[in-house]
Symmetry: C2
Subunit: 464 residues, 2 copies
Amino acid sequence: MGKLSETIAAISTPLGEGGISVIRISGKDAFRITGKLFSKTKEGTTGLDFSEVQSHTIHFGYLISDGLVIDEVLISVFKNPNSYTGEDVIEISSHGGVLVTQKVLSAVIRSGAIHAEPGEFTKRAFLNGRIDLSQAEAVADLIKAKTDEAHNSSIKQLEGSLSGFINGIREEIIKVTALVELELDFAEEDVEFTKKDELRNKCREIIHNLVEIISSYISGKVIRDGVNVVIAGKPNSGKSSLFNALLKSDRAIVSDISGTTRDYLEESFIIDGILFNLTDTAGLRLTEDIIETEGIKRANEKIRNADLVIYLIDSSGGKNELDSGLKYFNENLNTKNSIPVFTKSDISSAEFKKLNYKEKILAINLNDQKTLSFLKKGMVDRVSSSVPVVQSGKIILTNLRHKICLEETVASLKNVIISIEKNMSGEFISVDLRNAMKHLGEITGEVTNDEILNYIFSKFCIGK
Amino acid sequence: MGKLSETIAAISTPLGEGGISVIRISGKDAFRITGKLFSKTKEGTTGLDFSEVQSHTIHFGYLISDGLVIDEVLISVFKNPNSYTGEDVIEISSHGGVLVTQKVLSAVIRSGAIHAEPGEFTKRAFLNGRIDLSQAEAVADLIKAKTDEAHNSSIKQLEGSLSGFINGIREEIIKVTALVELELDFAEEDVEFTKKDELRNKCREIIHNLVEIISSYISGKVIRDGVNVVIAGKPNSGKSSLFNALLKSDRAIVSDISGTTRDYLEESFIIDGILFNLTDTAGLRLTEDIIETEGIKRANEKIRNADLVIYLIDSSGGKNELDSGLKYFNENLNTKNSIPVFTKSDISSAEFKKLNYKEKILAINLNDQKTLSFLKKGMVDRVSSSVPVVQSGKIILTNLRHKICLEETVASLKNVIISIEKNMSGEFISVDLRNAMKHLGEITGEVTNDEILNYIFSKFCIGK
């Protein structure tokens, strides 16, 4: 990433054709660079001094480069520190074409800005103290949110709910640490034992609160990333048809020919507020076709990494086919969170009962919407039963990095308790308390390093 | 489309994940609707009166609906008539996620705005007299521009170059019409004959200017829409490989198995400033495979509509294969603007000369970049030879609608000349002159109807 002394620029709106696109510029030269390119009239001379206009104002005019008008634009002016990054910021609003937007950015770069890296504006907002690190991460989550729950949890985190909780815990630890370190100076006095008891209880209380938050991560992960579902089964067992039925679209090409789906297809959809990321896999068979072999390799990989597997067995082949399909399922997939499903099923429920399978099997018939609803309900039930219910209003941990930091905080606090119980000297206790504070500080970014920052911001989109 | 009395809203940035998205609201209730949802603090009450803030100012705060914060936003305020549409306009700049952007729009709709149709903001700009119709069309062209030429011609049209030309011609016709209609009142006087001569010469002069502009349309179409190129040839003749080589990407799946490309693939790229829209077709053979048969049907359709066909003949099959390939080409494609190309060619140029084909054939070998350059040069030459060169600075007609209006103007002016030569009464001449003015007025929108407007604006993106 560029140094803070450099002025960065990027297209901040999604790529593609639209009515408006926004090119954002941040840094000490943002006003000068924009002024060089801007004129209030199309024949006029450029060189408006944006440092002399008021902050939070908008200016209509023409962006001119090498004597040619690139576009009619609106210039929004934000003076430091009252901007997204805390620096001088310009947002150029241009006509939303791909080429015209790139031409505007190119002109800005030629005038002295450098290309912003992914997340670099938000990184600057963090480095300039506008937001803390967990809020910066909430920005990325908010942009990627696909369900109401994901949206709500990221908005709360952006507003500082997690930061508030962390800072509260951190203050408690600071108080405790002060007591311990005070005691180090008066080690001879006899207040020691009651203080140690008090300290141990305090640590237990904090651990209890942290463990509760940590346990919300299983729900948090489902909220943020959704459930990865793979539809698997032998060729021609109806995988693509089910995929389409679930998505209510024609995303996958469906045909009667085995091996139609060569690549795997992925789409997301929402049932009862839960995001399911659905993968349609290539037929699970050995084949001479080199494209399909590659497809099957990738399909097996997908199954291994899935949160939920829907395994389809073609029921039109009769009882023998069903038995062999179930045998394969039981031997290969029953250890995973997986659902066996009989497809192409026009068996009546009475007939189905007679088959007397001990497994809980769904039989679906795509011509019968009700059977599809059963499957959807089954999918939701599987998720709900493995994910703890989180009380509304409570903080939910959605970020693996935060979970790891909290686990390390808990580990440090447990060391404090062990040291107390082993009656070790105050120095040991103090070191572990300071470690606990460090791990908490990593969440909000009070303690950080370049590696962590680069990891976090590289996952942002460009222009944010 | 909505009535002008209604307040419209839409997402104006392209769909997708980005740093910023903009929701635009236009109409008399834009300020009231936004105020209902906006609060300067996250716990605060909504209800800021945006009609009391200054135009062209930006306001940071929270968008709140049903007590829940939807997002941190920036509100840009544009007071009529100084806005894109000429009405009161609000632009809400929110975090650029798909869901969060839709939530903002939903809240705005629930508060009283209606969904804007494609192009409805620009239509309002036209109806409110902010821009004329040819400028509105230039906005759509600017957004879709993919080459520098397309960008320049749409920017000039947006700035009013075409409108200026049309209005100039229109004024000349108005003057002439005034003369004719004055004469109708003094029909007995003997100035008649010299006036008629003068009138005829004036019409001829205008026709001459219009025909020149009309003839620029062939270039204009290439500038605006590019050249549609289809790569055709028997299965396994190297179509997908050439497609990829031209695009320098792996857009098409390439394999050694015939029939890999089932659907057709389209991509655009630019050589020497000319936009080529390239289509890779399914193998042109009869097949039992129903997916491929559908693919071939679509491929033949693509060939029929192409501006340029590159027909590949696999040269690794020896002289017989080459001869039969060329025979097919000469019988089926030589009437089109098409180029026969020998692929997989590692024949030396000396050997190639010996084959002594009378046709101008290119031999390409994808391992030899030079042979690919020859093909690219051949493609550019074909386009250049069939497209007249337009002097820079001249107006270029890029829009079929404008061309038709100008042709109708010319037809009306020719009728004027015929009427003069047939010594017909001034009334006939006057009617044709008025028709000519009407057709010119249709270009800039001085004369228009709902059908034309709906046709034009339906081709815009939503939010523009």
